[in-house]
Symmetry: C2
Subunit: 360 residues, 2 copies
Amino acid sequence: MSKGSVSKRPTIVDVAAHAGVSTAAASKVLRNAYGVSPEMKAKVQASMKALGYRPLASARGMRGRTHTVAVVVADLHNEFSSLLVEGIRRECERQRYRLLVAPAGSGKAAQDRMVEDLIDRGMDGIVLISPLGTDAELETMATNTPIVVLGRHGASQEFDSVAADDFAGANLVVDHLVSLGHRRITYINHTTEGTNDARLPEEVRVRGYVDAMIRHGLGDAIDILQSQWSQEGGEQSGKTILSRPQRPTAVFAGCDVAAFGVLTALWEAGIRIPDEISVAGFDNIFTTSLAPISITTVDQSGLDMGGTAGRLLLERIGGRTEAVNTVVQPGLVTRKTTAAHNHLTIDAASGPAPNVSAKV
Amino acid sequence: MSKGSVSKRPTIVDVAAHAGVSTAAASKVLRNAYGVSPEMKAKVQASMKALGYRPLASARGMRGRTHTVAVVVADLHNEFSSLLVEGIRRECERQRYRLLVAPAGSGKAAQDRMVEDLIDRGMDGIVLISPLGTDAELETMATNTPIVVLGRHGASQEFDSVAADDFAGANLVVDHLVSLGHRRITYINHTTEGTNDARLPEEVRVRGYVDAMIRHGLGDAIDILQSQWSQEGGEQSGKTILSRPQRPTAVFAGCDVAAFGVLTALWEAGIRIPDEISVAGFDNIFTTSLAPISITTVDQSGLDMGGTAGRLLLERIGGRTEAVNTVVQPGLVTRKTTAAHNHLTIDAASGPAPNVSAKV
DNA sequence: TAGATCGTGTAGTACGTTATACACTTTCTA
DNA sequence: TAGAAAGTGTATAACGTACTACACGATCTA
């Protein structure tokens, strides 16, 4: 591809000279701007090809667009984030834009610094995955650069957003568990110090759980464990549940990774799943589908959400000014960690062993 | 942070004016170059702070450095890649460099295009994870931009490299299985159309398997299944194994994800693991550690490898010219999918049931 | 004390691209 | 057919930073 270190990289001036036109004309062809004849276009494009010309994004960034967008993500280890990113990437590729992934680390300060750095680096637009900070702060960002917020609730007039209906998702799980006869359903919540943002997915999910419990007349049975959505947090929650005199018959973890943790603790204690306790998660990450795990969970279709976010961002860059706020509907994926609860068996301790085998 | 869309972003000219010095002086302070007095430095830094000045990477990119590096990765879904990236990121953060992740998709053409795009975007250096292409091609790239190759074997005088000793890793697994009494050990290989690069990890691993088998006098038992290192590839391989008249007593998948696939097929068929068949993987991704899976595998310490790669890249950017090629030693992680093989039980079909429970 | 060296600051240009403003044809309108 | 409009191409001024030269005074050498 490259001629090595000796020959200089060709510039648009070289292209123009090779084609025998002005650099302005060459630039027009490059941007396919108004005011070029078909012959001129062909001539210039031939020269670009002949010289192996590639526009330098750094230089373009000083006046125009860099044709690059970024997605800010706290952590690459989250399988669901990867799906979102892949969705964005595909949409960008379709429109000949480059997507770069910016791992910011956790915490609002780190995230803010990353966004500034991305603007400094000339990104034409930015997707933020579940960002921290107030609407006002996000709107300030949006005045400088097109922004799409992914995985955070609440409509804004200043920026576009894409979110799954986490409230409905949580409802689906509770409805499912109640229909199986469960009443004592414990919810594993995610709490972050400091931030208490009603628009974060975790806040919406817990409200969905509470609402569904009340709707089923189970307000008294509401049981929320404050924890972290991580393997460790889930494991700790599982142990807490086991230490109680009266255990729940079902556990609803607000995130699959936390569900893994809960299951780890339960497996360790020899609890049969789902015979003794049903467990459900949220996100439908790949690992939940593996046969010996097979967790009932909520699917959000991350690829579609990412694709939508990418499309909205590129539309914004293209000039749209009115905000678009999208909500997608999640679906329940029923697997082997949830099953009918036999009240007689457990509550009265009088029946025989459950009928479903725990391990497959 | 930002003053909104009305006030222009401050430039180095504004800073210089505010401090009452030349732009050259302000630039010197910014780069902490030679030739500034302590008073001048303090004065300029105060002005930068007062104005909220941030250097524009696009503009810097035209003459100097952007203080940005990128890592090219085929696919973000691979948990091991995430670990490598995190290692690089931490090292960059230590040295106040920004790391951006570039998801290239699979295939050599896509990867090459991505590298060119990154150079166009002024990256100061690039880490390539298991890149395709010949040494010559990589060396050509390296003449234009500092490059570190991660997860690909073979030393080069032109670029730095960091690789795990995949040969030794494969040896560890075979040694382990043989010490447990296994002889019929099938290996699941990864084959890519077209490319047949002896320096790719997959090629080194399969050589390690072959070598160890011969070393143990099991040359006749060598059995390599050509497949893909994916859930589907592994599942297909598992089915193939099951369809054979004489099954292996152990399966060594060259990659954890493929091991999942193999296990999925075996579980489905009701095969007891590890009683009837032992299974081992490679990479030690998080999911292998989950209790009901608990796969014996090879740990490569991705964080360290990534950190080393990051350090080498920044050293190169800093001016080092001699190449450094690093190899790290992997370790075996023994878990529950491998166990002693009772030759009498299986081979002669005469013994009682194995002693270890398959499901925990 | 003349000359060299060092320390500190500045002027000015280059980097590659975009885009505004304008000039020159050609074609349309009334 | 005059004037307007449309079509096509060019000259050139930014954009924000880096850095080479150079200037000037102070300090060091011999």
